[in-house]
């Protein structure tokens, strides 16, 4: 048996994730109010979202299409008939007193996600409406409610308990993020709550046949916190069990400032949602024609894109994987490759551009690097106007100003010196000033060649064409 490196102090963590994804529709799941983030409070609210008496919800076709897309992308079963249910509970950000969701007949069942070669099963994915937002900091003794989010379509993706470590949970989540952004069914923005995650965590002995009692950690809103919350929870449960206590089945909250999970005080009565089919909404049959139509018009998935990039642009496995990790980057690469050498652009995107993005912690789309200014830089490297070293400098200038490479090179006088006569005279003066080293080189210290190259580069502030220097130096030194 292969060594199991997911064990923690002899215990096997068992993890299942519930991921809530806000769909990218124009309007809400059951009302014609707009679905958008960051607008003035309570301006995107319809009578239906208010839960006023006598209103009738009607399902948004686009939300259904997006749910089907996800099902197709995960090789899942798409429901022939899906049914909406009411989940009943009272909370001020849920004006109707119930959430419309899907319990027994969800849109998607039995999917598979490949996470670094391991198959993680998806139990189901169902459509449901989001609740409004409550805030507690405006008044001392009151809470405030914004219903803009109320009724926004969500796809809740429920995995089987197939995940065995916090790191694997993060990779699964990243994979889901990649799929939904590639399908363009969500922006996947975790900091704005477009993608949220609950983690079901339990532990057991590796030879045990039964899972342990699980705790559910609610509303984790970043990749980093998913890992931290699970790691904390696993350690807490180990301490519990080894100290002779039992793990309670309960809902816990992850507090990122203290890096701990805390029990959300269980109410006097256990949750009892009294699900039943929503009488306002009739069953929806999904025809094979509709599924076929969606399938024919689906955007390329990450694996398909990687494969195409390997074939068309001759990228190697690693390059294709890194370039295609995010759809934004892949689109950028493809745009740039219309005019530039793809291998050269890939090298620069993977290396220097990604380094800048990571360092500044922003996405390509939010940076000043555009296909246009980046192409101009690639062109200048390709035609020998600037060296790789200077190109890095130019890229940083593009990063902070968004200017075209040509302008930057001109205004800073960074063109590579390729004029043979000029280079030869510079090189000659370098040799004249370092006669001792020239002597030593000629008597066999070959390594000094690099020293001369460095000196010429220094004289020209890095602008000399390295190939030309090599030739000139060889000629002058052999004379």
């Amino acid at each position: 048996m292969a060594q199991n490196d997911t064990l923690v102090k002899g215990w096997q963590p068992v993890i299942g994730l519930e991921v809530h994804v806000q769909l990218l529709t124009n309007t809400k799941l059951f009302s014609p109010a707009r679905n958008n983030f960051g607008e003035d409070a309570n301006t995107l609210v319809d009578l239906i979202d208010m839960g006023l008496p006598g209103v009738l919800p009607v399902m948004n076709e686009e939300a259904m299409r997006q749910g089907i897309k996800f099902g197709l992308a995960t090789s899942a079963k798409i429901a022939k008939t899906m049914i909406f249910d009411r989940k009943n509970y009272f909370y001020p950000d849920l004006p109707k007193g119930y959430q419309i969701t899907q319990l027994h007949f969800p849109i998607v069942r039995d999917g598979i996600v490949d996470v670094d070669g391991k198959k993680i099963r998806i139990h189901q994915a169902h459509l449901e409406e989001d609740a409004g937002k409550s805030m507690h900091d405006q008044y001392d003794s009151k809470s405030t409610i914004d219903l803009n989010r109320s009724g926004v379509p969500l796809l809740e993706i429920v995995s089987e308990p197939d995940i065995r470590s916090a790191a694997e949970a993060v990779n699964y989540l990243k994979k889901i993020h990649q799929i939904i952004t590639y399908l363009d069914i969500s922006d996947g923005n975790m900091s704005q709550g477009s993608m949220r995650c609950d983690a079901n965590v339990s532990i057991m002995r590796p030879d045990s046949k039964e899972f342990g009692t699980r705790a559910e950690i609610k509303n984790i809103n970043s990749f980093k916190f998913v890992e931290k919350a699970i790691n904390f929870e696993v350690k807490r449960q180990i301490k519990c069990l080894e100290g002779g206590e039992t793990v309670e089945q309960e809902t816990r909250l992850y507090d990122s400032t203290k890096d701990e999970t805390r029990s959300m005080r269980t109410k006097e009565f256990a949750n009892d949602y009294r699900y039943f089919p929503c009488p306002d909404l009739v069953p929806i049959n999904i025809s094979s024609e509709l599924i076929k139509d969606i399938s024919n018009n689906m955007d390329e998935l990450p694996e398909e894109k990687e494969q195409r990039f390997r074939k068309v642009y001759k990228l190697d496995d690693y390059e294709a994987k890194v370039i295609c990790a995010e759809r934004q980057t892949a689109n950028f690469f493809e745009e740039v490759s219309k005019n530039c050498d793809p291998k050269l652009s890939a090298k620069w995107i993977i290396g220097e551009v990604n380094a800048l993005l990571n360092k500044n912690n922003i996405s390509l789309g939010n940076s000043k690097i555009t296909p246009d200014n980046f192409s101009s830089l690639m062109a200048k490297i390709n035609d020998g106007t600037i060296s790789g070293k200077i190109a890095k400098e130019v890229l940083e200038e593009i990063w902070s100003t968004g200017k075209n490479a040509e302008k930057i090179i001109k205004s800073k006088g960074l063109e590579q010196i390729s004029d043979e006569a000029e280079l030869e005279s510079i090189t000659q003066s370098v040799l004249d000033n370092n006669s001792r080293q020239v002597e030593a080189y000629k008597s066999g210290k070959d390594k000094l060649f690099g020293f001369f190259v460095g000196q010429v580069m220094k004289e020209t502030q890095g602008k000399a064409n390295p190939k030309s220097i090599n030739e000139i130096l060889k000629r002058l030194l052999s004379g």
Partner: protein
Amino acid sequence: MDKIELKNLLFLAKIGIADKEHPKIIEKLTNTFDLIDEMNELDLDKVQPLNNPLELNNVSRKDSDNDRNAKKDFLENSPESDEDYFIVPKIIE
């Protein structure tokens, strides 16, 4: 149905009913549950559940908005509000 079950039910439904009314309610609900028990004795294994009494399927709408903003009306007609928000009793401590 006993008193404890009724209390739970009232809690879930957020309904307040005076204690002296409880015996009458318990009696009525017990009758209803007895009827359901009778139905449960039928063999329904091969019967598809009826999810909606209407003989109607696939009612849906296109994804286009109504471009309406009734914020002012909604807030003004709520029990308590300020310029931007609905105001409710504090829901966390």
